[in-house]
């Protein structure tokens, strides 16, 4: 009888553990309307709704929507430019208004914020801005880290009927060990995707020593912004001086810029840097159910069955 009671308690405990295990503790923020990319006529007004929703397990959260200038980080990532230093003639930021710059979202619900863009008549090419959606600033406490998730909504508008210029300039080619960096700037008035850089190195005898090409960028380079193409020369290449030519291509192998320089490859441990072009694609992890979850599920099923058997007896 005692063993039956013990079994009974064990079953209940197992069920409790299973219940706790299936309650999600994570929080999910979902954005519908993630990129506004369109051709627009000068002098028109266009709107773009963005709907933000929270999972039912999250806390009530206040989100701020902020219009920023559109910038590229060295690796091509999109970064917001503070309005005080956003001076690009192709910035859409001054012409964007939001109907609600701040929303409070309850768990399991959503809020829609609409951006209105007044397309100017005196601008050629494209208009660009980022709408940054972030929780109201939180203060970190204790000895640890607080994690915040935010979203950037790229606004990329092409003004119809205006001349589009897609040009670029290589600002510099430098070497550090066997790592060569090519700084490239979009000097046009329109963005371009898939930019890539080919480096060709010739030794002192005029013979080609290496030729390396980056993967195309997945992000767009917007007017006035720069990226750094970082490439690693094969370490079997002899150290020394090389005449290097960098050629940056756009979509369909269009040459955007080319430049030459003399660089020196120095021996020693080369500086391995992540290229700005192709960040790694991680191996997807199981997301829905962890092996522990499966085990708990099986245990709980066995426990429930045992409980029923015991109760019937």
């Amino acid at each position: 009888m005692k063993s039956l009671k013990f079994l009974n308690k064990l079953c209940i405990l197992t069920l409790l553990i299973a219940c706790i295990a299936v309650i999600p503790v994570s929080a999910t923020v979902t954005l519908s309307g993630v990129k506004f990319m369109a051709d627009v006529a000068p002098g028109t007004t266009v709107t773009y709704p963005m709907t933000l929703s929270l999972s039912g397990t999250d806390n009530n959260t206040d989100y701020e929507f902020t219009v920023l200038g559109f910038g590229n980080d060295g690796d091509g990532s999109y970064i917001g430019i503070d309005p005080t230093i956003d001076t690009s003639p192709n910035s859409a930021r001054p012409y964007i208004t939001l109907d609600k710059p701040e929303v409070s979202i309850a768990p399991g619900s959503s809020e829609t914020v609409t951006a209105t863009v007044n397309v100017q008549t005196n601008i050629n090419g494209g208009l660009y801005a980022l709408i940054n959606i972030h929780p109201k600033p939180v203060e970190s406490t204790g000895t640890g880290a607080t994690f915040v998730t935010a979203m950037n909504v790229p606004i990329m508008l092409t003004i119809m009927g205006t001349p589009l210029t897609e040009t670029g300039e290589i600002k510099g080619i430098t070497a550090d060990g066997y790592s060569i960096t090519t700084e490239f700037t979009n000097t046009g008035n329109h963005h371009y995707y898939n930019a890539k850089n080919t480096l060709t190195g010739m030794d002192s005898s005029g013979k080609q020593a290496f030729q390396i090409t980056t993967e195309p960028l997945i992000t767009a380079i917007v007017p006035g912004e720069s990226v750094n193409f970082k490439q690693l020369v094969d370490t079997t290449t002899a150290p020394g001086e090389y005449a290097v030519t960098a050629t940056v291509y756009g979509l369909n192998e269009t040459v955007l810029a080319t430049s030459s320089a003399t660089i020196t490859l120095t021996s020693g441990t080369p500086v391995v840097q992540s290229a700005p072009t192709e960040p790694e694609t991680p191996t997807p992890l199981p997301t829905a159910t962890s092996p522990v979850g499966i085990e708990i599920g099986i245990i709980s099923l066995i426990g429930a069955a045992a409980l029923i058997v015991v109760r019937r007896r």
Binding site: S26, V29, V34, D73, D75, G144, F147, S274, T287
Partner: protein, 166 residues
Amino acid sequence: MKKYTILGAIALVMLAFMAVPVMADAAPSTSATLSATGSITQTLSLTNSAQSFDFGAFKEGVNEKDSVGTLTVTSAFIPSWKVTAAMSDGYGYMRTGSGGATGPYLANKLQEYNYNAATPAWVDAHGLKFTGSSSTTMLESFQQTVLISDAPGSYSTVVTYTIAAA
């Protein structure tokens, strides 16, 4: 028995009505137009399994580290997206009231075991490319080196993950 026969008859009559196209009063027609509508909504979801993480009491000369959780991105109709990470001090050091930690805050580079300083280089390390409409999960794992030169106090930081469609 009789009841079932009546019910069966009613069902057969109803079936007949459903199967026979309605012809009465319909104008003769040689073509039909099917109107269909549909829309595609681009969505991005970011799920963080951890809201915060506490190292607890630091021990001198010890690399405090732990796995924090996972960051999951789910996309629909987005060819590619990118997640970037930034620390509240802008440089990659945990802060206390009077200053920052001497050693940098380190982040595990995805599933690899090497830790990287959580400086802007860490952003590169967390950069991702993903094509299609599916989910990807990244492991979050952090480390803080505690040195004898670190001042007493509570050290903290805010890590912001920002996602954007490319």
